[in-house]
């Protein structure tokens, strides 16, 4: 387990949730657990923030929900991606990659602006 916990950048949480749901519908706690597993617990995030993100996405029509039953026979709300959600995830992932790449390029650039292999000070 890592000791440093990274704060989640604004707007990226939505993307993470959509990614979590891109394979199979999940209920809230499953999404949380999946994120913790995927990030190796490196995210500094209240569980409630995740629920707010889920609700927001549902209100925007990117997710839809249905009551179902868990393995242990508990009633739970299962979320799945809508077609709009899937398109959104695809586009935003591309944007995020480009953005991250650009930021990385700049942060690692030498003084003359040429890409450098050594990290910037």
């Amino acid at each position: 387990m890592s000791t440093t916990r990274l704060p989640v950048l604004k707007g990226t949480l939505d993307l993470l949730v959509l990614r979590a749901l891109s394979w199979t519908p999940m209920h809230g706690f499953e999404i949380v657990s999946w994120l913790e597993r995927a990030a190796s617990s490196a995210l500094d995030l209240d569980d409630s923030a995740l629920y707010q993100a889920v609700y927001r996405l549902e209100a925007r029509g990117l997710l839809e929900a249905e009551w179902g039953v868990t393995e242990n026979n508990r009633r739970a709300r299962y979320y799945k991606l809508t077609a709009a959600g899937r398109t959104y995830l695809r586009n935003e992932t591309k944007n995020w990659m480009q953005y991250a790449e650009t930021v990385t390029t700049i942060l690692t650039a030498a003084k003359d602006g040429q890409p450098s292999t050594s990290p910037a000070t």
Partner: protein, 885 residues
């Protein structure tokens, strides 16, 4: 069991109210449980595990509130989507059901569109011309102030006297009834140009006039007080003439123009929307300063009443002030004020009101038609509705579907109505008589359109719903029972629908009678004996420059020369000079007195008396015979001979009694007027248009040398265009004279009939429209009742009823409805036609023939409307009718 049931009911209600809240709570609870279980699986003690789960969840209260908000928003969104989905379903369902009965839907939509369209077209005219006759600020309090003789106006024309400056100044200084009062004076002048002088209309105003009308110069400035006091020759152009003659050049300000003999400096341009009150006035080309120092001129006056002041109160105050003003200058006022709203001066007002009434009746007929079309449909769908109700469609859902259907129809009707209204208005404007310039500016009125659509839609929806309710009231079992439809029918419907048809018939009967009266009026006007011969008769109004033709000798020289040359022109047969041309009237103001008959009660006030001055050729040129006595034997001033009209002479003295009697028009307080001796009685001539006959006196006196304004009457032996000849002749005698126009008396007489004919054409169209709609309505009711009675008819045929009997029974029931309608309609017309008596000529408002026409046309239409239903009844096959359910 019972407890469980109650609990479930309670829970259901609760869930419905706070479903999203419950969901949120449940979700949080599950999350905390699962997290705690996870922690315990990792080895935490149960107590610590749960508090750790809560800690990791974060701010619980705040999060919960946010989640509830998001959930509520989501819920509303879903409801909206669901609602739109249902609406879409309802709409497409309505579309499909209507599509299945295309003819029915088309008739309904067309009926609505006709009603809405006709109403919109006519009300747009009313709204434009009457309701918004003037665009000044606070137009509802703007009035025109004129005067009339103390005995009132006996001319049958809209004649009024423009108040004298003296009275206007008194009113402006002293009247409390008015916020402001603006005098103005409009006149025709000549603008000097490089070519011929251009006749223009100039209006003198005070600088405050533009404030009053809410306008500002678009270029330059207004007159200053000094300029008015010093009588500076300054002028403002109107936007119209500025564009047409000066190419909208701003540099015109500061230059000078010559109007008449005076040179004016242009100081600005006033916008085109600055219009004088009183519709139909020619536009003003040049605005000049008004100088109130000249005390002896008549002024037009427009004013704005103070809020709450009534016209009678204002009239009393103005009369009191006018009397005071006259008393101060040791005189007495002969006139009383006449305060009118601008809309009252619309020439076409009476006709418009009639058409408005007519079109409102058409709208009513259309609404009644739509009503029973919808009700007939609802009745015929009873079974369908019952089936659907039996299959589990909720009342509210059925209701909503019927409502949607009605709304779809109403919407289609409204769209059609807008189109027909636009078309109708274009037609009205295209068909307008040429002299009705006001109609040119009329456009489709939004408010009117809105009201018409609402009325049409309401009637559609209302009756659609009534029909639906009546259908829904019957229990599904009843409606589904075999044969129920064909025997019982809904009595209530039938009666209500018959009532609607009777009212349609009544409205139509009233319309037919009104239209017939107007048709007869127009025929009478066209056939009227004018008392003179208008064919190949022309008049030429000549205006000479004042300065150059000051002396009678110079005028006589010009007129003699012109007459001599005209007489030698080809086709010219006769030629005469007259003061008042056809189409105009001139009045002497005062008390008409007959020597030796001074005691009569009417001889105490002021009124208008028609006067004209004629030369020795006039009566012959016009074709007006002298019926008694002679023409003037002595045209000298001293002889004071006069010729009077036959209608007056015969009504006052009887045949042969007028000659030698002496009359005069004496202005009270004025110098004594010499008595005039009647030497002849001329036949009545309706020179101001057919239909204007009066037993009031008309005095012809001898015309000496005409004024600088004269009229030449010319009779030719064939229709010819005299204008080029006259133009050349006048220019060859004196180049400075504006070439006169040549007017055709025949065309003028035709124009006087144009307005009644226009009214008649419109009223007849609306009548036909109303009649058509009523016929469709009657047809609908008859067709429905035959369908309802199929079984009964079948039985009767089986029992040996002849075709004649069956046909009689169908037609009889239709004619009974028509007769009931005709009875009511005739009754309404009995009271209604007197309202239009002013528009009639040669036919009485209670004209028997017109009333009979109304009844006959209506019953004939009813019989025609019954033809198809009757044939359907005759074609009933008794075996199938009895066997079918």
């Amino acid at each position: 069991m019972i407890r469980g049931g109650i609990q479930r009911a309670f829970k259901l209600a609760l869930r419905r109210r706070d479903r999203w809240q419950e969901d949120v709570e449940e979700e949080i609870k599950l999350h905390l449980t699962l997290r705690a279980e996870q922690l315990m699986a990792q080895g935490s003690p149960p107590n610590d595990a749960y508090s750790e789960a809560v800690r990791r969840f974060g701010p619980l209260t705040e999060s919960r509130a946010r989640m509830i908000d998001a959930a509520r928003y989501r819920e509303q969104r879903m409801q909206r989507t669901e609602y739109l989905g249902q609406l879409k379903q309802d709409l497409s369902f309505a579309w499909r059901t209507l599509g299945r009965q295309k003819a029915w839907a088309a008739i309904t939509v067309f009926t609505l569109a006709l009603g809405i369209g006709a109403t919109t077209a006519v009300f747009s005219v009313v709204s434009n011309l009457i309701l918004h006759a003037i665009s000044y600020p606070h137009a509802d309090r703007v009035v025109l102030i004129q005067q009339q003789p103390s005995q009132g106006n006996n001319t049958g024309l809209r004649v009024a006297i423009t108040p004298q400056t003296r009275a206007v100044i008194g009113w402006r200084d002293r009247a409390h009834s008015f916020e402001t009062m603006e005098p103005f004076r409009s006149m025709g002048l000549l603008l000097k140009t490089n070519d011929d002088p251009l006749p223009i209309r100039a209006t003198e105003i005070l600088p405050s006039f533009t404030d009053f009308t809410g306008t500002k110069p678009i270029v330059g400035r207004l007159f200053s007080k000094d300029e008015i006091a010093n009588k500076s020759p300054v002028a403002l152009l109107s936007e119209g003439i500025w564009q047409e003659r000066y190419g909208s050049n701003r540099a015109i300000v500061g230059t000078s123009i010559t109007i008449g003999d005076t040179s004016y400096t242009v100081i600005g341009v006033l916008p085109a929307d600055l219009k004088l009150p009183g519709a139909g006035r020619d536009r003003t080309d040049i605005w000049l300063p008004l100088n109130l120092k000249n005390m002896n001129m008549g002024l037009s006056v427009v004013g704005r009443l103070r809020p709450g002041v009534t016209i009678p109160a204002a009239t009393r105050e103005l009369d009191k002030i006018a009397a005071d003003v006259e008393a101060e200058s040791k005189s007495t006022s002969q006139f009383v004020s006449l305060i009118k709203r601008p809309s009252e001066l619309i020439d076409f007002r009476d006709s418009l009101m009639l058409l408005t009434g007519a079109v409102a009746l058409v709208l009513l007929v259309a609404c009644a038609n739509v009503a029973h079309l919808l009700m007939a449909r609802a009745a015929s769908r009873e079974r369908e509705l019952a089936v659907r109700a039996a299959l589990g469609a909720g009342q509210s859902r059925l209701f909503r579907q019927l409502l949607t259907e009605s709304l779809v129809l109403a919407f289609a009707g409204a769209v059609g109505g807008i189109f027909l209204g636009w078309l109708g208005l274009k037609a009205i404007v295209a068909l307008r008589p040429p002299q009705m310039v006001e109609l040119n500016a009329v456009h489709l009125d939004g408010t009117t359109l809105g009201v018409a659509i609402v009325v049409g839609a309401l009637s559609g929806v209302l009756f659609g719903v009534i029909g639906a309710f009546q259908a829904a009231r019957r229990s599904p079992q009843d409606a589904l029972k075999a044969g129920a439809l064909s025997t019982s029918g809904a009595r209530g419907h039938g009666r209500l629908r018959s009532l609607l048809v009777v009212s349609e018939m009544a409205l139509s009967a009233t319309l037919i009678i009104g239209a017939t009266l107007l048709v007869r009026t127009v025929i009478n006007l066209q056939r009227a004996n004018l008392g003179f011969e208008p064919s190949h008769l022309y008049w030429v109004p000549v205006t000479l420059p004042e300065k150059a033709y000051k002396t009678p000798a110079s005028r006589a020289a010009f007129y003699d020369e012109l007459a001599a040359r005209l007489k030698t022109t080809p086709h010219v047969r006769e030629l005469a000079f007259v003061q008042v041309p056809p189409g105009s009237r001139s009045f002497s103001v005062g008390n008409f007195e007959i020597q030796g008959e001074g005691g009569s009660s009417q001889n105490s006030g002021t009124s208008f008396t028609d006067v004209n001055a004629i030369d020795e050729h006039y009566l012959k040129t016009m074709g007006i015979p002298i019926v008694e006595g002679t023409f003037f034997t002595d045209t000298s001033q001293a002889a004071n001979q006069v010729i009077v009209n036959a209608a007056f002479a015969h009504s006052h003295w009887g045949p042969g009694g007028a000659i030698g009697k002496r009359v005069r028009v004496q202005y009270k307080g004025g110098p004594d007027v010499t008595w005039q001796t009647i030497v002849g009685v001329a036949a009545d001539a309706q020179t101001t248009g057919a239909g204007i006959v009066s037993t009031a006196p008309y005095l012809y006196s001898p015309l000496g040398t005409p004024d600088t304004r004269a009229t030449i009457m010319i009779r030719t032996d064939a229709p010819v265009d005299l204008a080029p000849t006259v133009r050349t002749l006048v220019k060859s005698i004196d180049r400075t004279i504006v070439p006169p126009k040549v007017e055709s008396v025949e065309a003028y007489v035709a124009r006087t009939v144009a307005k009644p004919r226009f009214t008649m054409a419109l009223l007849t169209s609306f009548t036909l429209l109303g009649l058509l709609l009523a016929a469709v309505g009657l047809y609908g009711v008859m067709a429905y009742s035959v369908a309802q009675r199929t079984r009964e008819i079948g039985i009767r045929i089986a029992l040996g009823a002849t075709q004649q009997t069956i046909a009689n029974s169908v037609v009889r029931s239709g004619v009974v409805l028509a007769l009931a309608g005709a009875g009511i309609g005739l009754g309404a017309a009995f009271y209604g036609t007197r309202l239009i008596s002013k528009l009639l000529y040669g036919v009485a408002p209670l004209d028997l023939a017109s009333f009979a026409t109304g009844a006959i046309v209506l019953v004939a239409t009813a019989v025609v409307a019954c033809v198809v239903p009757t044939r359907r009844a005759l074609a009933v096959d008794p075996i199938r009718a009895i066997r079918a359910d």
